[in-house]
Symmetry: C2
Amino acid sequence: MANITEIARLAKVSRSTVSRVLNNQPYVTSQKKEAVLEAIRLLDYVPNRNAINLSKGKTNIIGIMVPQINHPFFNHLISGMGEICADLNLSLLVNQTNSDPEREKISFDQLRYKQIDGLVIASTVSSATELSEINKYGPIVSCEWSEGDHAQVYIDHSNGIELVMNHLKEKGYQSIALCLGNPDSGVGKSRKSAFDKFIDNSNCTHSHEWYFEKRYSFEDGKTVMNELYKLSALPRAIVVGNDYVAAGIIHQARLLKIRVPEDLAVTGFDNQSIAEALHITTIDQPIHQLGIEAVKMMDSLINHRHKVEQNTLSLRLIIRQST
Amino acid sequence: MANITEIARLAKVSRSTVSRVLNNQPYVTSQKKEAVLEAIRLLDYVPNRNAINLSKGKTNIIGIMVPQINHPFFNHLISGMGEICADLNLSLLVNQTNSDPEREKISFDQLRYKQIDGLVIASTVSSATELSEINKYGPIVSCEWSEGDHAQVYIDHSNGIELVMNHLKEKGYQSIALCLGNPDSGVGKSRKSAFDKFIDNSNCTHSHEWYFEKRYSFEDGKTVMNELYKLSALPRAIVVGNDYVAAGIIHQARLLKIRVPEDLAVTGFDNQSIAEALHITTIDQPIHQLGIEAVKMMDSLINHRHKVEQNTLSLRLIIRQST
DNA sequence: TTGTACGCGTTATCAT
DNA sequence: ATGATAACGCGTACAA
């Protein structure tokens, strides 16, 4: 198709002048400017991004690396990034890795090959050493805590337990059970320790019979409720690390004629749509905001407005009818 | 950083030879090849994608335009596309438009500016005329039915009702109720007409009292069940256009001591996670497959292996315990 | 098998 | 204010 040279020829000016018009630069008479614009219209000219990218050494594209696109967390994250990217005139190159190191390498290479100006990492299986190696080629922002000297913005997970516990305490629930997923994950550990710490520092009570772990599904929730039901002493509330498990507990409680929240208060985690459907008090992660902050930080890094930095976001308690 | 020229100098060969090594082309002695590879290692050379793109007139990036990233349908679609893209060595540039024409223009321009080799459209507010205008600049594949001469691959919606109705009939449910969302939408209309057609052509019965519309939420489902309960005659089954509404119906049925499916069979739509959690028979859209087919078609168009074509995908019935 | 020379389309520098 | 010319980094006919 038509390029800048043909425009110049038709408008009887130099390519430099065409470029100036294209980039709204000063020092071009309105007369010539008109001629150029006319030629552009006549030849149906469109600029070639690849040439611009090569010449400027910049693409205005940032990469985002996620294990799965089809997952509520990463989904919200990318969506938030998409919004702010539109505002900042950036494009988003998405790479779904399935946590495969080979697939992660694709994003790293895109950064090295200058196909993207920066890389946002939602979650990675690569080591901190590898990351700092890649970081030499271009800016990296991680959305989960990790070792290394790259920029980071992440959610303060221990904060979530504190929010629900305080809420339950204020509501007057004195005896509290806990139900978690994987107790060995980073999130699981920080939740457990935050719970223990709260119990120690309050007049609320807990019992080892009231602790459940490795519970992930709606079915698991029904089982938990049945197990609780068999105990001699029931807690007044149960803190659950997952909305689906919480939903299962509530479902089964209803069948057992246990009123929620009068007999047993239940809290979930993550504010999934099922929590809204069943009116479950839960914790909302500011994932959308996380995406926005990550892109803002990336934009700063690309344009050297700030040094590498770190940022944490707080969680949000959503009070519904289950407490 | 190091470029091809420096490699050539260090390896004492021409830039062409370096390029040949880089692209695994024949006609280069293993001796010189080694020298080049050594130089590449020494100078920590990485190729520059923008230069390659400019030279080849191709980026190996395809664009995907969606109204929202954070939406189960588009979410699955992008995920499916991501998988096949990795296999085909393509990258995915995602544009979240919020159904704003201005934001849609971004994708169109990316195609015109040769920033992407092709554009997949999940859903658009632009007219068929606009699309065929853009289609001149590069291949377009639409994932929803639309006028125009561009390639299309989409899901056969009327097929969904047929699948559940046949299933209910085979199971022996003779009297069937219907509960839809927006009756004026394209999907709503095709579902209603498919339902009516089935009733006419079978020995199943229906009554106007058993028809509900504009029901979207879990709460709405509970209301529907209460309304059904007041009727003199109850249907043996109810076909519902949304999993959350179906979940609400089942929830309320349990409270009213109506057994599911013994007294009332319930089917949902879309195979959301709540349908799995509550064991609801539902219809699964092959969205993942839709994404894969769209990218395959795009790949064919880019490499001129096929002419512009059209393709429809069938839905899938998932039988669970609610029928 | 290897090297030369030019093209890809644009921006940036430096004269004038 | 305008224009020639050199980058940007790589691919590729064509010649040798």
